[in-house]
């Protein structure tokens, strides 16, 4: 194939809450892939944690019918993202190419306006040079494909854009198009229950498109009109069984 067609993906994610066990493997996987620093006991408890994805655990009902509800929440990669217009320097911008929200760390000046305006609390701020405090040689495992963030910049889930880029690059070098399932973010890759499905929403046959069309599908805070790219499949025993 001499000239490849420029294809444009629309990346999306589906989280099946009926399958999610709440085990937090996605949290750890994300941290290890994306060079997310840990912040220690005191800071983590004071809302300085750097999770790009976190599992919200809420309770439903009263004992003995009390039941935990787990919901992994990450950046929803909104189609109309509230974070984007408020950044004074275009550090968080919409990628027309990938249809996701980008956070350009080296452009960020740290107004934290985007984080205030994010209804999903999906953003984390580097209050200190956390990553630089990692004692050697533990910094050896830092992923060279992901920028190490310095203090004073905002960061958030990128749908593992480095993997998207690598996948596209690999496919292009081989002269083919991306296959469904070829690019998956670290959370979906690790998820032991396979509750996170990732793929191209513009391909109606992709696994994620099929899952997103499920009747159980809902998006978070739909009333805000943010057009999230993440669909949650509601769980619970009210159907089937």
């Amino acid at each position: 194939m001499a000239e490849q067609q420029e294809t444009r993906e629309r990346w999306g994610m589906v989280v099946d809450l009926d399958l999610c066990t709440g085990c937090n493997a996605c949290v750890t996987a994300c941290a290890m892939e994306n060079n997310i620093p840990w912040v220690g006991e005191e800071e983590a408890g004071y809302g300085r944690n750097m999770f790009w994805i976190r599992v919200q655990r809420t309770w439903e009902g009263e004992y003995p019918e009390v039941s935990p509800a787990y919901q992994p929440v990450m950046c929803q990669q909104c189609g109309r993202a509230p974070c984007e217009p408020v950044c004074p320097v275009f550090a968080t911008v919409h990628s027309e190419e990938e249809q996701i929200n980008l956070q350009v760390y080296n452009r960020c000046i740290g107004t934290r306006y985007c984080a205030n305006n994010c209804p999903y609390t999906a953003r984390s701020f580097n209050w200190y040079d956390y990553t630089y405090q990692i004692p050697a040689p533990m910094n050896y495992y830092l992923n060279p494909n992901v920028t190490v963030r310095r203090r004073g910049v905002m960061e958030k889930c990128t749908f593992c854009v480095q993997r998207i880029r690598a996948g596209q690059e690999q496919a292009k070098a081989a002269g083919r198009t991306l296959q469904d399932g070829e690019v998956i973010p670290a959370c979906a890759q690790a998820c032991p229950a396979d509750a996170i499905i990732f793929g191209d929403l513009s391909d109606p046959e992709s696994r994620v498109s099929k899952a997103a069309r499920s009747q159980r599908g809902t998006t978070l805070l739909e009333e805000l009109g943010t057009q999230p790219k993440v669909t949650y499949l509601k769980g619970g025993g009210y159907y089937g069984g």
Partner: protein
């Protein structure tokens, strides 16, 4: 009435102000200069000679055709040719190479064309798109050790990307093309 100059016209004020301006300017120039100096290489590698001898760039920097990093040659790669070259025995500069070979060590080259860690550059698409090496790296026929090209900044990247086909601009101007 005593004839006095207003304070801003007094010589010492002007001299001091001039000095401050000079120091600031000098600092800025010096700082910029420091980022653009040619680093000290372990071997004064003559690019001009090798290019002149007809060796393609990709012979020593093969990574450029398939991946992000062009790569710097391993000791064995140099030795592959140089063990057959008579001059290896005589040239003092090449004795350093011999020493590395004997010690079985890699040569600690200092890369010249490097991007900050928040820029993810990939050679392959550029080579595939037919961008010649000298477009970005300068004419290696004219230098011995590689020299940095000043002002290779974001605008410099974009100025070339902007010249591509308009339908590619969305992709080529996407922030996540380089920054993630």
């Amino acid at each position: 009435m005593k004839k006095t100059l207003p304070w801003w016209l007094r010589p010492w004020v002007r001299v001091t102000a001039g000095l401050i301006v000079l120091i600031l300017l000098g600092g800025a120039v010096g700082g910029i200069y420091l980022t653009q100096t040619v680093p000290q290489q372990p071997i004064q590698f003559p690019h001009n000679f090798h290019v002149g001898a007809g060796i393609p760039c990709l012979y020593c920097h093969p990574g450029a055709q398939w991946g992000p990093v062009a790569g710097l040659p391993s000791t064995q790669k140099c030795w592959g040719c140089h063990q057959q070259v008579a001059k290896t025995k005589t040239s003092p500069e090449l004795q350093k190479l011999v020493a590395y070979v004997e010690k079985g060590e890699g040569i600690p080259w200092v890369p010249v064309f490097i991007q900050p860690e928040f820029v993810h550059f990939n050679h392959r698409p550029h080579v595939a798109a037919g961008v010649a090496c000298e477009t970005c790296h300068g004419d290696m026929k004219k230098v011995t050790v590689a020299q940095p090209i000043p002002r290779q900044n974001m605008g410099w990247c974009l100025s070339c990307h902007a010249k591509q086909a308009p339908e590619k601009w969305t992709r080529l101007s996407d922030c996540s093309l380089c920054h993630y």
